[in-house]
């Protein structure tokens, strides 16, 4: 699986989503599943998936699906689709 696929899978599993829901509009609080409780669970799954430890500032800055790419890149996760 590519990093992008892994990332997508975390959202699909944590928030019970279809792949089509993974877009610009997927932001914190845009669905009932993505509240503070869901956020914490999702962060934990991301950390396990990519074997990283996300810093506090990044946890609270992780405000959207798109923003997540940017944040994970800081931890050396590459999403280039080549």
């Amino acid at each position: 699986m590519t990093n992008k696929e892994k990332y997508e899978q975390v959202f699909i599993t944590c928030f019970s989503l279809e792949k089509t829901a993974l877009n610009d509009e997927l932001v914190y609080n845009s669905l009932p599943e993505w509240d503070s409780v869901g956020h914490m669970a999702m962060i934990t799954v991301l950390e396990e998936t990519f074997n990283i430890m996300i810093e506090t500032d990044d946890i609270v800055d992780f405000s959207s699906y798109n923003k997540g790419f940017e944040i994970l890149e800081k931890y050396g996760i590459r999403f280039n689709s080549t």
Partner: protein
Amino acid sequence: MDFFNCIDMYGEAVAVIAEDSEQISYKEFLLIADEIKKHLYERSLVFCICGNNIESIAGYIGFLRGSVVPLLVNMHTNKEALKNLLRLYLPRYVWLPKSMNEDISDCEPVYYYGNYVLLKTSFTSSYSLHDDLALLLTTSGSTGSPKFVRQSYKNIMSNANSISEYLKINDKDRYITTMPMSYTYGLSIINSSLLKGASICLTNKTLMEKEFWRLLKEHNVTSFGGVPYIYEMLKRLRFSRMDLPSLRTLTQAGGRLDKELSLEFATICRDKGIRFFVMYGQTEATARMSYLPPEYAILKAGSIGIAIPGGKFRLQDENGNTINESETIGELVYEGDNVTMGYSNDCKDLCKGDENRGILKTGDIAKRDNDGFYYIVGRKKRFLKIFGNRVNLDEVESMLKTAGYECACDGTDDGMKIFITLKDSPKEVKHYIIENTGINQVGFSVICVPKIPRNNSGKVLYSALQCYGGSLV
């Protein structure tokens, strides 16, 4: 005098800070509150659809000052549940966000303030309100249960007084909201802060959002409260490494914080010079019944502490006899002026007087140590606390049964297990439960079993269910 009538004296001091950072003085705040109340008849019932915003809190205080009885409903309550509550309680007015206006049919707008509108409903009230009745609060806020707690003016005043006394709240304090105001713990923070001229920074942002921490720093917030799950989040956010110099007091209630986490926060707070209060309460006792003084937070970690000023605890055995020995388990019974009048299930119950007479059997099983500190060890009633929400297991079972699912519910706080049979889809059940409780799915696991084990008379054998474990669906 009731607190909401004596806070005028704080004049120019800041009462609330709105989410856009506008600071509103007590004087301005009470002008807003009193303007709202002018548009309602005294001793009428109003549904106050709350969020952590200036409109809700000004409405609430205005209603109390105008002898109008508010029933607080969280603005995220699902539409069907709200409709059901309207049908059962027939309120004369509804105070709600303009955006929800169309959810209420047959009514006439009588006043607007900010993003809120006051609607006069078409219900013809054929019920009366008891003179002592001040406020109606839900016990769960989640299952859409019509069961509300009837709180009197004396209850609210007495509890706000006790809380502000042991927390030593003063006009230098500044709270930030971390819970909905329709939730008893959230509301008690608002009441006890206003009583002492402290200020409240209003936000619907959560600890998982950058904006929350920005507000906390910008407004030099001194205190906030949290249910156990908030402490899990704080731990996850490595609170120990955060630099928050204005923070002086943290409180915890809304469910049992496990001993380890309690000890961890007691230690972190000691090192940071923050007072850490573990507390215990129920909506049936207005809010608060006990607190653990911060100087004992480490030594007595895991304890709910001692009764609040003006209150008394005792333990009772199965025959109703008081247990005098320490380290002996019994039902925790509380006595005090904050024990509420009783429950209501619809508007016909609102004429009822005080049914509890100052005594509350908490339904919690506890023990007392040799130094007089209390510890909760179990529960008599079948309910769980999920992210601070009280969720009655039998209510969930009957809700699911009505929806056509055969099931049995069990589990632990923050982890309900719903056992269903192979004929039903776990995904569907999970969807149904989150839709109807508004609680995050992380709090539930659905487990398929071949058959719900029952005894000869059809009662579910919960102990037999435990062998099915909890593989997540």
